[in-house]
Every structure is written in structure tokens, then in C-alpha cells.
């Protein structure tokens, strides 16, 4: 009745093929997204389980007689097994990578990698443990006094900072309000622009440059584990001159008495990516002859990576780890990769993180590269977290029960936050 060439309706093969194709893209949940032009077959049946192909055992010395030479099927003879065909040129559309064990950089010992999308469970504590650091919850006082000095202040500082905030929050767009990732970025750039106008009175600021999208790599051993930091992180302000040392030799020697806080039973390498294929590299992201070798400040924004939004504690951990990574990469270039118990000239790097309103300020001093044991001299960290720049920046006033609780516009501006920002910026240039 039906012509032989027509495909049979409701055939088992067609059903299976269709369902397998559908299930490969995510199961029945994706059915709503696909357009069904075929009305003749059922597409909502259960997906049959994947069957593993029969394992063919090869017994050495016992070769099967195949019909390969005869070029046609002979019942009773085995099917010839031909070697898998491979292209003699590399086509990126059909690239199959070799299994992990056969890759040239495969190593037995795993390496734990901290990348820019790592969401560390224990946050700051984990970062302190991994970098063998002692934390102090305030910025160093001599740094804060830098900004008190009227020479180091911008003329009309308060007014200009408030204009910068209003520009970032209200005036930067044709819409009513700016989106969060846009305004946090614009605010940071506006504040940096304000600080940089001091170059006329502080010429050392001219010996710095910005860099983005540079790839950092640093490796170190912590106990039994090999750890690495890799990735592109935020905006780097690098300088021709190193930052001055923040704490003297006695304080550095005192850190040997500090005991690092553990968070047993959680392992310190939790949430770090465990890989077996790696190269132990140490690179600051620049060539060795760069005129700006010293990392001065890193600027992080919470909204930089839209796919990975970190909670405040995890964001601070990321700041600590990447600051440490920059310092360690510099130490390895200066002093070699062999662990040093105490560095002659400790390396200082700063970091600032923001979400558009709250700022986190960080100063990191690398005192030692001998990080395998838990005792001995530790690195130092001064961290001030969740410093508000202003309370509210509302387009429409908040009115509760016919009373204005928060007026429209900028409310609750705090000038001290910008002084700290400026102090960190001017550190090393005064």
C-alpha cells in the first residue's frame, strides 16, 4: 500500500533517534523551547537508557579471521576492526582532545587552582590560611595620616567627589537611573580621575600606568598541597617604583608568634579547582623588561564578572588571593622560586574593591615565600571592609506614611572614605 521509499510512520528507529537527539540537549524540559514541525511522531516518551557498546576483548596471539580481505560479508567470519580514521591536518571544528592521562603536562600530584571565579567557602579565613597571613582589621595609621595633610588633598574635594558620585549614579545615562555594573565601574573611574589630577603637584604619579586583561600566574606549596593562582583580575595600577614597606623588621619578626586560624573539619583547599594537567608557572603577566614592574594597586569590582557574583566575604577572599598572587610573582622574579624564610625587602601591594557604594581597602605585605609550614614568619594584611561612601543615592524619594524618610538625590555622603581611597592612591608618591 505505501511506497517503499517513504519512511514509515511511528517507526521505532525514528522515535528513538528523535528522542535521543532531544535528550542530548537536556531532556523533556527543553521541549517547550524547540519548535515541533513534525506532528506524526510522539516526542514525549521516556528516553531509553544509554547502552554501552559491547566490549570487544582482544586476546594476544589469537587473531580472529575476518572477512576484510574478501571485501564482503561472509557469515561465520568476524567483522574486521579498522583503526580509527584521523585527519592529517588540524580542523578546529572536529577536534577531539586526548584523554587526560596522555596529555604531555599530566602529573600524578594534583594542583589546586584559585581562579577569578572561585567561590571560597570559608572566605577570608581560607584566604589567610592559604597565604599564611596575619590580618589586622584597620589600615596602617601612617597611611591614613597621608590624606589628612592638606597638601595631599584635591581642591574642593568634597564637592568634586559628590559630583563624581552623582555623575556615576544619575547623570551618566539617558534613562532615569544607571544600572549597577555600569555605575560601580563609572564611579571607580571617576574617583581615579579625581586622584590623578593631583599629578601636577605630585609628579611621581606620572610614573604609573594602568593595565587590564593581563594574565597572572603564581605557584606555591602549602603543606602537602601545591597551589596556584591563575587568571585575569580587575584593573592593575602598576608603577616604576616599588611601594614603601609598611611594617618594620620587629613587627615582621613578631608575626612568627601568631597562630593561623584553622577551620577543621573543612579542608583548606575546598572550592579550589583540582587539576592534574598543569604547568608550574610564575608570571606577573608582563615581560621582564617592562618599565612598570611593580604592582601598586588592584581595583576589583563586584560586578566585573556577570556570571559569578560573589558574596562580600568571598569577594574579600578573592581580593586577598590576587593581591598575594601579584606579590608572590614579583618575589619569585626577584628572589627566585626557592622558598625564602624572610625577604630582605618585603613586597607591598594594595587593593581596593567596590560594589558602587561599599569599599574594601586592603594592604598586603609579603614577608616570606616559605609557605609550606604553619609556623615561622607570616605575611601581613591590613583590611578595612564595608566602608560606606554614601548612604543613599535615590532617584525618587522614599516616602513611608506620607513622610519623607530618604530624600531624592545623594544622601549621607562620608568624606573619610574618599580620604582613605586617596591615601592608598598617593602611597609611594608623596
Amino acid at each position: 500500500m505505501f511506497p517503499e521509499t517513504a519512511a514509515p510512520l511511528f517507526s521505532h528507529a525514528v522515535l528513538l533517534k528523535g528522542l535521543r537527539r532531544l535528550s542530548a540537549h537536556g531532556g523533556a524540559g527543553r521541549l517547550q523551547a524547540r519548535r515541533h514541525f513534525v506532528v506524526s511522531r510522539c516526542l514525549t516518551a521516556k528516553v531509553p537508557p544509554v547502552r554501552k557498546p559491547r566490549e570487544r576483548v582482544h586476546i594476544p596471539g589469537l587473531d580472529k579471521v575476518t572477512y576484510g580481505e574478501r571485501m564482503h560479508v561472509v557469515p561465520g567470519l568476524a567483522k574486521p576492526v579498522n583503526p580509527r580514521w584521523q585527519r592529517d591536518y588540524k580542523d578546529p571544528r572536529f577536534y577531539m582532545s586526548s584523554p587526560m592521562q596522555e596529555m604531555p603536562l599530566h602529573k600524578e600530584k594534583p594542583c589546586y587552582v584559585y581562579s577569578q571565579r572561585t567561590n571560597a567557602l570559608e572566605g577570608v579565613l581560607q584566604a589567610l590560611w592559604l597565604t599564611k597571613t596575619k590580618m589586622i582589621s584597620a589600615l596602617p595609621p601612617h597611611l591614613l595620616s597621608l590624606a589628612e595633610n592638606p597638601v595631599n588633598q584635591i581642591p574642593n574635594q568634597d564637592e568634586r567627589v559628590q559630583n563624581a558620585i552623582k555623575h556615576a549614579r544619575f547623570w551618566d545615562t539617558t534613562e532615569d537611573r544607571t544600572g549597577k555594573e555600569k555605575y560601580s565601574n563609572t564611579l571607580l573611574l571617576n574617583l581615579l580621575h579625581l586622584c590623578a589630577t593631583l599629578q601636577s603637584s605630585h609628579p611621581a604619579i606620572g610614573r604609573r600606568i594602568f593595565a587590564e586583561k593581563y594574565s597572572l600566574a603564581a605557584t606555591w606549596k602549602r603543606g602537602e598541597d601545591l597551589l596556584q593562582i591563575r587568571g585575569q583580575n580587575g584593573l592593575l595600577h602598576c608603577s616604576m617604583d616599588p611601594l614603601p614597606v609598611v611594617s618594620g623588621k620587629e613587627e615582621v619578626a613578631d608575626t612568627a608568634d601568631h597562630v593561623l586560624k584553622t577551620f577543621y573539619p573543612v579542608s583548606p583547599t575546598i572550592d579550589l579547582q583540582k587539576i592534574h594537567v598543569y604547568k608550574e608557572m610564575n608570571s606577573s603577566g608582563f615581560r621582564s623588561d617592562t618599565p612598570y614592574p611593580h604592582a601598586h594597586t588592584l581595583y576589583f569590582g563586584e560586578q566585573d564578572d556577570a556570571r559569578c557574583v560573589l558574596r562580600p566575604d568571598q569577594f574579600r577572599a578573592k581580593m586577598i588571593m590576587f593581591t598575594f598572587g601579584n606579590a608572590l610573582a614579583r618575589a619569585h622574579t626577584l628572589y627566585g622560586t626557592k622558598p625564602q624564610r624572610v625577604l630582605d625587602q618585603p613586597i607591598t601591594v594594595q587593593a581596593v574593591g567596590t560594589n558602587g557604594r561599599l569599599f574594601q581597602f586592603l594592604v598586603f605585605q609579603l614577608n616570606t615565600t616559605d609557605l609550606s609550614g604553619d609556623d615561622g614568619i607570616k605575611n601581613q594584611l591590613w583590611l578595612e571592609d564595608d566602608v560606606e561612601l554614601y548612604d543613599f543615592a535615590k532617584v525618587r524619594p522614599l516616602i513611608k506614611k506620607k513622610q519623607v524618610k530618604v530624600p531624592a538625590g545623594l544622601a549621607g555622603y562620608k568624606p573619610e572614605t574618599f580620604s582613605k581611597f586617596l591615601a592608598l592612591y598617593l602611597h609611594g608618591a608623596v
Partner: protein, 427 residues
């Protein structure tokens, strides 16, 4: 009672005295109008009513604040031509000059003469010390430019760049570092830059009307409709300042300039119509104190890079593209600045608005200066308007030949000097 059947002759003696006074030479008494003036109706279905509605609207806009003016001018959405500063069309500069009533003058204004001549107006007493410090400052700037170029091309370890992403990933950061580095180094010589505002990847929009057409088809067939244009531009970066830059040439000088006339309809360019919100925006809203423009920096995207144009046998369009970009972007920026000061179609600018632009693809730089003399471009105001807008521009100049082994080969000092002069422009 005797009814008088005959009235006596009215003799001049008996006439009431007031009537007499009327006949004698007196000044006509100014009579106050008892009835309101006779003007066409406002709501009738007549041409005079339509005219009166338009006049009322113009009076209403004149009488309102600047923010209200902008809102009233951009209130109604209609189909408009979207003008792209970076366009694939062939020879778009003539078309855009016609739309914006701009005359092109090759070369730069006298202020930016090539540096072989000694600028006498600047220094009062040029001493050897001054020249020495100038040379020193110039050497510093030169080394800054070298370092910036090397940083992006040589020092940063980068992966191989994706196809057609070279400009965005390599030249973008280079230009940003160059702009910031130069601005802050020159801030001590130009106090305007100390109070300036630097925008990275801002938005500039402008909406205007020019010309008319008769609607060919539809329920409004046969009626006159003004042609509306909108520019939505995204420069790479721009510097906005709190004071206005001085003019390059007096407004009267533009009366004799030539603007090409194009009789064809704009959609033949090709230019396409769309309808969406009309925006007039300089880069920041009205309350921002830095409302005047100084310099814009534009990046040539990969699509219009000269190597790709050469592959498509369109090398002659490279300069045309740069000129068009400078023209459209600067017209939109200066127009928006003028609107922010309250000038619009029916209230023309009383002082010229001036801005500058630098367009680059990383290696080649072109410099443009624009002076906006008139915003009155619509049909009713353009009939008696002798003013024209002026664009000065250069051809593209190479900044450096290449980067080899950590060295910049063939750095062109002239281009650096022009960049410095552009940024040093101040009233």
C-alpha cells in the same frame, strides 16, 4: 404741549462743545481695543489654525526652562533617519555635510599651525630656560607615548587576538592609557583639565530636523513633513570641561563657506528610518557642571580598518570615513551642548560652540575641529540663515612605523605635538 414739527437749524453756536473739538487739529486719542485681536482659531480644521498651533508651541518652548525645552522638543516620537557616524555607505561625507549644513575646510585652524614656526602669542618672553623646560616636557611626553605603545604591543603577555577583535582588545586599552596619560601630564599646563570630567565609552545623542518632503502615500498624502534625523554615537572617550572653548573663526567668516547641496532623498544614501525615543545628550545630564566639550577620541573599528578596506578595493573611502565620523560625532556633541544652554531651532546660538576630535586606528591619527554656528536647520528658519557650521580636518598621519623587539620604530613627533596642542587648547 406743542409738538415741534420743525426742528430748528442746528447752528454751530448751539452745538454741544465736545463735538466741535473733534474737528479741530487734535491728536487722535489712542483708543484701547475693546475687543480682543482677531487671530485665527486654535482648534478649527484650517490651515491658519494649524499655523497658529505651531506658533503657540514655539512660544511655549521659548518660555520654558532648559529641561522643559528639551522635553518638549523630543516629546513626540516619529519616524526619523538614524544617522550613523561610522557608516559603510560610499561618499557619505557630502550627504552628512548637507544634513548638518557644514562646510569642510582641509587643514586645521591657525591655532594649530605646524610647529616649525615659533608661537609668538603664547610666550611673553621666550628665554633659553623656557625652551629648555618645554623640550624637557616634550621629551617626557614622547617617552610616555613610547611606553604606552610598548605596554600594549610588547610588554603584556597576550594570547593571539580573536578575529576582528584586534581593535577592541589591543588598541582600545592603548588609547585609554594614552588619553589618561597625556591628560594628567598636561593638566599642570592647562588648568581646564584639572576640573574636567573624563568619560570612557560615553553616549552622545542628538535629534534635529532639516528639509522637508511631501508624503507620497498614506492618509497624510500630499502634506509636507519635516525630515527628522537622530545621531546615536559612542565615542571611545571624551573630555568635558566647565568652561567653553574660544571660537576658531568669527561667525561671519562662515557666510561665504560652501555646503554641498544634495537634491536626492536621504534614504538613497542608504539611510534608514526608525522610530524610538528622541535623545539629546552630551554625555551627562543637564545638572552636571562640566557641560561643555573639549576633545573626543574615536576608535576605528575592525570593520572599517584600512587593511580590510584595501581588501575590498575601497582604499579611497578610508579618509572619507574618518571625515564623516568626525563630522557627525562633533556635530552631535556641539549641537547637544548648544541645546543644554537653551539654544534650539527657533532661538539660534549667540556664540559659536567649539569642540575637537581625534580619530585613530592605533597607528594612524586624524585630527578634527568643529565650530557650530547655527542650530536653526529646519525649513522655516533656514531660508534666511546665512550661517554655516565649519569642520576643519587633517588627513590621517602615522604615529609610528612598527614595534620591533621592544622598540618603537619611526615615532612621528609632529603627531605627538598636535595631540599636545589639542589637549592644551584653553580660553
Amino acid at each position: 404741549m406743542a409738538a415741534r414739527t420743525r426742528l430748528p437749524l442746528l447752528s454751530p453756536k448751539n452745538l454741544p462743545p465736545f463735538r466741535n473739538r473733534k474737528l479741530v487739529h487734535t491728536e487722535a486719542a489712542v483708543k484701547e481695543a475693546v475687543y480682543p485681536p482677531i487671530i485665527p482659531s486654535l482648534t478649527a480644521k484650517s490651515k491658519s489654525a494649524r499655523r497658529r498651533q505651531a506658533e503657540e508651541q514655539v512660544q511655549k518652548i521659548r518660555a520654558s526652562t532648559v529641561q522643559e525645552k528639551l522635553d518638549l522638543i523630543t516629546r513626540i516620537q516619529r519616524q526619523k533617519f538614524v544617522v550613523y557616524p561610522q557608516t559603510f555607505a560610499r561618499n557619505p561625507d557630502k550627504w552628512y555635510q548637507h544634513f548638518t549644513k557644514t562646510a569642510y575646510i582641509p587643514g586645521l585652524p591657525e591655532k594649530f599651525t605646524p610647529v616649525q614656526e615659533q608661537p609668538e602669542a603664547g610666550e611673553s618672553s621666550p628665554t633659553a630656560g623656557d625652551h629648555g623646560s618645554e623640550d624637557e616636557a616634550f621629551t617626557d611626553i614622547r617617552s610616555l607615548v613610547t611606553r604606552v605603545i610598548l605596554q600594549e604591543h610588547w610588554h603584556i603577555k597576550k594570547r593571539k587576538v580573536f578575529l576582528y577583535r584586534q581593535q577592541e582588545q589591543v588598541v582600545g586599552p592603548l588609547l585609554r592609557n594614552l588619553v589618561t596619560g597625556l591628560t594628567y601630564s598636561l593638566a599642570k599646563h592647562n588648568p581646564l583639565l584639572l576640573l574636567s570630567s573624563l568619560d570612557l565609552n560615553p553616549q552622545v545623542n542628538f535629534y534635529w530636523r532639516r528639509g522637508e518632503r511631501i508624503i507620497p502615500k498614506g492618509h497624510r498624502k500630499g502634506r509636507l513633513e519635516p525630515t527628522r534625523f537622530q545621531i546615536d554615537d559612542h565615542p571611545h572617550s571624551q573630555i568635558r570641561i566647565t568652561q567653553q572653548l574660544p571660537q576658531f573663526a568669527p561667525m561671519d567668516a562662515s557666510y561665504t563657506a560652501e555646503v554641498p547641496e544634495i537634491t536626492l532623498a536621504p534614504n538613497l544614501m542608504p539611510l534608514f528610518r526608525r522610530q524610538y525615543d528622541n535623545h539629546i545628550f552630551t554625555g551627562a545630564k543637564l545638572p552636571d557642571p562640566a557641560c561643555y566639550g573639549h576633545t573626543q577620541f574615536h576608535l576605528v573599528p575592525d570593520r572599517y580598518h584600512r587593511d580590510r578596506m584595501a581588501q575590498q578595493q575601497q582604499s579611497d573611502q578610508v579618509e572619507v570615513f574618518l571625515r564623516t565620523n568626525g563630522l557627525a560625532s562633533l556635530f552631535a556633541w556641539t549641537g547637544a551642548q548648544a541645546m543644554y544652554q537653551g539654544f534650539w531651532n527657533h532661538e539660534d546660538v549667540t556664540r559659536p560652540f567649539v569642540s575637537q576630535a581625534v580619530i585613530t586606528d592605533g597607528q594612524f591619527f586624524s585630527f578634527f575641529c568643529y565650530q557650530l554656528n547655527t542650530v536653526a536647520l529646519s525649513v522655516e528658519m533656514d531660508a534666511n540663515n546665512p550661517r554655516k557650521n565649519l569642520l576643519w580636518g587633517t588627513e590621517s598621519m602615522r604615529l609610528y612605523e612598527s614595534v620591533q623587539d621592544g622598540e618603537v620604530v619611526g615615532l612621528n613627533d609632529g603627531v605627538i605635538k598636535l595631540l599636545v596642542q589639542f589637549l592644551m587648547n584653553q580660553p
